[in-house]
Amino acid sequence: MAASLKSPIVQSKQIAKQISDHHTEVVVNKFEDHLFIIASQYMKMGTILQVTRDILTHDIQDNIPMFSTKVLLGKDEPITHVMAKTIVTALNPLVPVIMSLAIKDTSPDTVHSITDMIKSCL
């Protein structure tokens, strides 16, 4: 019983907001080797992506992070990659990201609001 009372080994933070009439929820799980982010307007996992940082030399990269996205499960549509890259570039995490996206409204404003929600959970 005592073990259950301690703070969990993997920290999870969640937040729920109304973004342009859609109930939106974000869950961020901080694993040591991955960041597992759920961003959902359907309360489901939806499309699951893996986002990894590209390795480039410092001269070429010029401090601008580049990321590769790969759809692991779900619809492999260009918009999904765009959303994942936009969000992860803004977060600039040190570890690879596993991202679950189930978004009704893919407008830039919504994606930026979701990014802010994820940032508040980091």
């Binding site: 969990p8 991955h34 309360m43």
Partner: protein, 117 residues
Amino acid sequence: MDMTPSICITDFSENILDKSIHFKIIRLEQSFFVWVGSKPMLSNMAVAMPATYGQIPAVSTLFGAKLEQISESLAQKLAKKYKCQVFVSCSVPFDANLSVLIEKRLAQELNQIFPSS
């Protein structure tokens, strides 16, 4: 404006065979995610969905090593029992005795979360 979240996260730990095993269950709509591990790593992930025809749920590994297939078999069992999409990430090294005890402890917790099943 902040709203009340409907996604439920349950964390618990248990000492099983002298190992401290940690669990995380994230309950979504008509699906849930289970993580089991002794270290805070997300080394693999499997997904299982109940089959439309037949008894055995369809299962696949999304990323990570599928060696030993602990995550896959656990996902399959849970998808069959709860008749929904299940995501499982289990990074505990394979041990026949340990796996049984982990499944038992997990079932105990899931039965509280889904009392109807």
